[in-house]
């Protein structure tokens, strides 16, 4: 629910978060800064000022990228506070647009059959080459990989290794990951198997609930989390190849009974595989295959503090990682943000695209589906955008 008094008090208004906040960088407006949002949350939580449209607008405009957390000297858990404040806002202001977003994030994404239907629909539009006729708000469709008309899911797969296995991994199928990025799952499964892991994608798992949580659909998020706690019981590790999901799984202690156990066992595929490479359990390719541009998903870099791992994997795959943005400014995807605050998302997406273009490279590596979609939508044709694990799997399978 609303951020706690202790969390709110932790902010000493030093302002060091401001330059890291993409919306502050775009607007120069305190109202669009983490410090400002915390002040607003405090005013509403204490009842000093009412929760109204201006408040809703302030919270909606935040990307939830958590770059501010990484910069905050007081270690304020801003991401958690935002999620709590949005949940409280949903209760205080159950308005039409918010209701729709919560429905989409909380229920629709969990309905595999509906997602499959939408996927088929988009696949057909893609084949007919009419995706560019979609309204700007749905511009994300232009950022998708070619989709399959007939559904495909990784749920239920059980990869046994020929030799004795070193451990069991539950692979998070994910909502859009499963339908729209099957190649990433293939790569993850391939690499983990090669390292000797049994990889299973439990049938009964659900969408991790990240988007629901971020939209303030707290009840939904908790339900999904609880189901996942039982679905993932018994595995040595839970691996996700979508940074947004691995970040959320690591916070399951807040979302479900028994959630700590999921949190402890969760690994993003990049950190998992990088460690295996470090320990020599997976090979490193020496030859130089060229340079690739590195994009850091916010929920990997800021949310989990992981930025070295994807680069290690890229190097191990025989490529040279090239930096595009020392500050790691959000690409603007931010879950459903790119649909609902599409103007701002477009500004940030264009900026990220120009950072890529400045390197003159045509291959971009990103460990999160949302980022990949945004990048492709703004870079246009002629770019290869993929997950670092795919790059590595590609080198492995040659």
């Amino acid at each position: 629910m609303n951020p706690t008094q202790a969390q709110l008090d932790a902010c000493v208004t030093c302002g060091l978060c401001l330059p890291h906040c993409p919306t502050f960088r775009l607007t120069g407006d305190e109202v669009a800064s983490p410090r400002g949002r915390i002040a607003a949350m405090g005013a509403v939580a204490t009842g000093t000022l009412p929760s109204d449209e201006i408040y809703a607008e302030m919270l909606s405009f935040c990307l939830g990228c958590r770059a501010c957390e990484a910069a905050c000297p007081s270690l304020i858990p801003y991401g958690q506070m935002l999620v709590g404040a949005r949940e409280q806002l949903a209760k205080d202001q159950p308005s039409f647009p918010g209701w729709l977003r919560r429905l989409l994030a909380g229920r629709v994404l969990n309905m595999k059959w509906l997602l499959a239907l939408v996927t088929s629909g988009i696949a057909i539009l893609q084949k007919l080459r009419v995706t560019r006729l979609l309204p700007r708000r749905l511009g994300l469709v232009r950022g998708l990989r070619p989709l399959r008309v007939f559904p495909h899911s990784v749920l239920g797969v059980h990869d046994h290794t020929p030799a004795a296995s070193v451990g069991s991994v539950a692979l998070l199928a994910g909502c859009v990951m499963d339908e729209w990025f099957p190649a990433v799952h293939d790569a993850t499964r391939g690499v983990l198997q090669m390292a000797g892991y049994q990889v299973h994608s439990p049938e009964r798992q659900q969408c991790c609930g990240a988007l629901a949580a971020h939209e303030g659909a707290g009840g939904q998020a908790r339900r999904m989390a609880q189901r996942n706690v039982s679905a993932f019981a018994g595995y040595d590790y839970i691996v996700s190849d979508a940074a947004g999901c691995s970040a959320h799984l690591k916070e399951y202690a807040e979302w479900a009974e028994g959630g700590e156990s999921v949190a402890e066992r969760t690994r993003d595929v990049t950190e998992f595989v990088a460690e295996l490479i470090d320990r020599g359990l997976l090979p490193t390719f020496a030859e130089s295959r060229g340079e690739v541009a590195m994009q850091d998903p916010c929920h990997l870099r800021h949310g989990q503090g992981i930025s070295a791992a994807p680069r290690e994997i890229v190097r191990a795959a025989g490529y040279t990682p090239v930096e595009i943005d020392p500050d790691g400014l959000c690409c603007g995807a931010a879950g459903l943000y790119m649909v609902y605050e599409h103007e701002t998302a477009d500004q940030l997406g264009a900026k990220k695209a120009s950072q890529v273009k400045a390197t003159q490279l045509t291959t971009v590596v990103s460990a999160n589906p949302g980022c990949e979609i945004q990048l492709r939508a703004h870079l246009g044709d002629g770019y290869r955008i993929l997950h670092p694990i795919e790059l590595y799997w590609d080198s492995l399978s040659r």
């Binding site: 000493v12 208004t13 120069g28 407006d29 305190e30 005013a43 000022l49």
Partner: protein, 471 residues
């Protein structure tokens, strides 16, 4: 038409804030005192700033300029309800003059962005307050901001060659320029550090400093602050003017270590961060000298940063001190006093005693090289009577500093916070003269009223006519 109507007609509704929640968010800077804004505007050009000032004047509303609101003395917090002119969007493309090593930047440009922007030219903007990543150049000009590297380089004012400024009457003047010693009175010099009371600076011609070819950063630990301070005095007495000489006491190091996870010496009573820059030959020698002097004065360890990564970590530790302190308690009061370097140890000792007397918990961070102390009082405002204790302790500390030959503020500014203590340092005649200077720029008193000088600083306010001879 109301003020807000007029402003919206000028800037459009998106860049004018008047909703209570929006104004609440703008009520404070990084200091402790909130103020009240009747509206907040975000102009983008000098002309818009001038128009806002004229509009506010027409409505009889004072004007307070604000950067990113990282000031610690309440300079950007209205004393009387005022129009907040937020300068963060006044950031037109820079004009860099390579040959003259200067650049015109907007007041809304961030301090560190300027240095990063000219890095490939081998240059940087020297003033480096702890808030450098977040504060604006306009804010630096307003407070005459300092920072650790001002020891050898001087404060902001030494790096400002010119400025474009909107006056109280809403006109635009250009003061100074790239040529040395502009003719006439040095108004440019007086505007720096004037805390927004003489005009709103919209563009700044900043002097850029050459990057040093080599740097050595040392961390020395001591069993007492006295030993650390003695080292500082001896180093400077030896003829070395290091690029920076920063001191932190034990509670500060402990707090910062948690944030940086950086293996800082949490067992020491005081640590000294020293940095020398220049040619390799020079810095090696100076670093050796500092190490020798440190050991002579009882340093228990001397650590020299092995590479840029370690150097960055040591500095990050220093610059996060204030924020990291927030982990210790909900509120803090950051004091800023300055004393002659030779008085440092005695004053610091007294400051600790004051802390004990008033029952407040303290940390200390200081720019030891120039006698600039930042006693940081950590407390919980919700504890009854605590805030008053803290203020009383802070005032006592400033009295002690002044009594030792010091002054009220080395770099944060007078603002609201120290305004009413100005009489500790200046006579009524002095304050009257400063008030007349201010009135020359702002006869109607619409620019950030209530800052720097106490109310009634003009002797005429009380009907006092100064005696001839200034007595």
């Amino acid at each position: 038409m109301t003020l807000v109507d007029d402003l919206q007609a000028l800037l459009g509704p998106d860049r004018v804030h008047s909703h209570p929640l929006e104004l609440l968010v703008y009520a404070k800077d990084s200091g402790v005192t909130p103020g009240e804004a009747v509206a907040a505007v975000l102009p983008e050009t000098t002309q818009e700033v001038a128009a806002c000032v004229r509009t506010a004047a027409r409505h009889g509303v004072p004007v307070v300029a604000r950067g990113t609101g990282t000031g610690l003395a309440g300079g950007a917090v209205p004393d009387l309800p005022a129009l907040l002119v937020v300068m963060t969007r006044v950031d037109p493309p820079w004009e860099i003059h390579r040959g003259s090593r200067c650049a015109w930047v907007g007041a809304g440009a961030l301090n560190l962005d300027v240095s990063r922007g000219v890095e490939e030219l081998g240059l940087h903007f020297a003033p480096d307050p702890s808030s450098e990543a977040a504060c604006t150049v306009g804010g630096n000009v307003g407070t005459n901001a300092g920072g650790p590297h001002c020891l050898a380089e001087g404060t902001t004012v030494a790096h400002i060659l010119g400025m474009e400024m909107v006056t109280a009457s809403g006109e635009v003047v250009v003061l100074g320029g790239a040529a040395p010693d502009p003719v006439g009175l040095d108004l440019r010099g007086v505007v720096v550090g004037s805390e927004g009371t003489l005009g709103i600076v919209t563009r700044v011609l900043v002097k850029l400093t050459e990057n040093a070819p080599a740097v050595r950063t040392l961390l020395l630990t001591f069993d007492s602050i006295r030993d650390a301070a003695a080292t500082v005095s001896s180093v400077i007495g030896d003829g070395i003017v290091p690029a920076a000489l920063e001191m932190m006491d034990q509670p500060t190091v402990i707090a910062v270590d948690a944030f940086t996870r950086g293996d800082l010496p949490v067992g020491a009573a005081a640590v000294l961060l020293a940095e020398v820059v220049g040619l390799d030959a020079a810095v090696d020698e100076e670093a050796r000298t500092i190490e020798r002097i440190g050991r002579e004065q009882g340093a228990t360890s001397v650590r020299v940063a092995a590479d840029e990564a370690e150097r960055t970590l040591l500095w990050k530790a220093r610059k996060s001190a204030f924020g990291a302190v927030a982990q210790t308690a909900p509120d803090y009061f950051l004091n800023d006093a300055v004393v002659p370097r030779t008085a440092l140890v005695d004053v610091v000792t007294e400051i600790y005693a004051i802390g004990d007397r008033f029952g407040v918990k303290m940390l200390n961070v200081f720019h030891a090289g120039d006698g600039n102390i930042h006693p940081l009082v950590v407390y919980d405002a919700r504890e009854p009577g605590m805030t008053d204790q803290v203020r009383a302790a802070a005032e006592e500390m400033m009295r002690v500093a002044v009594a030792a030959g010091g002054s009220l503020t080395g770099e944060h500014g007078v603002g609201l916070l120290r305004r009413d203590l100005m009489d500790l340092v200046f006579t009524p005649i002095d304050l009257d003269a400063q008030a007349r200077l201010r009135d020359a720029f702002d006869p109607d008193g619409i620019l950030n009223p209530g800052k720097v000088l106490p109310r009634g600083a003009r002797c005429n306010d009380f009907g006092m006519i100064p005696e001839p001879g200034g007595d």
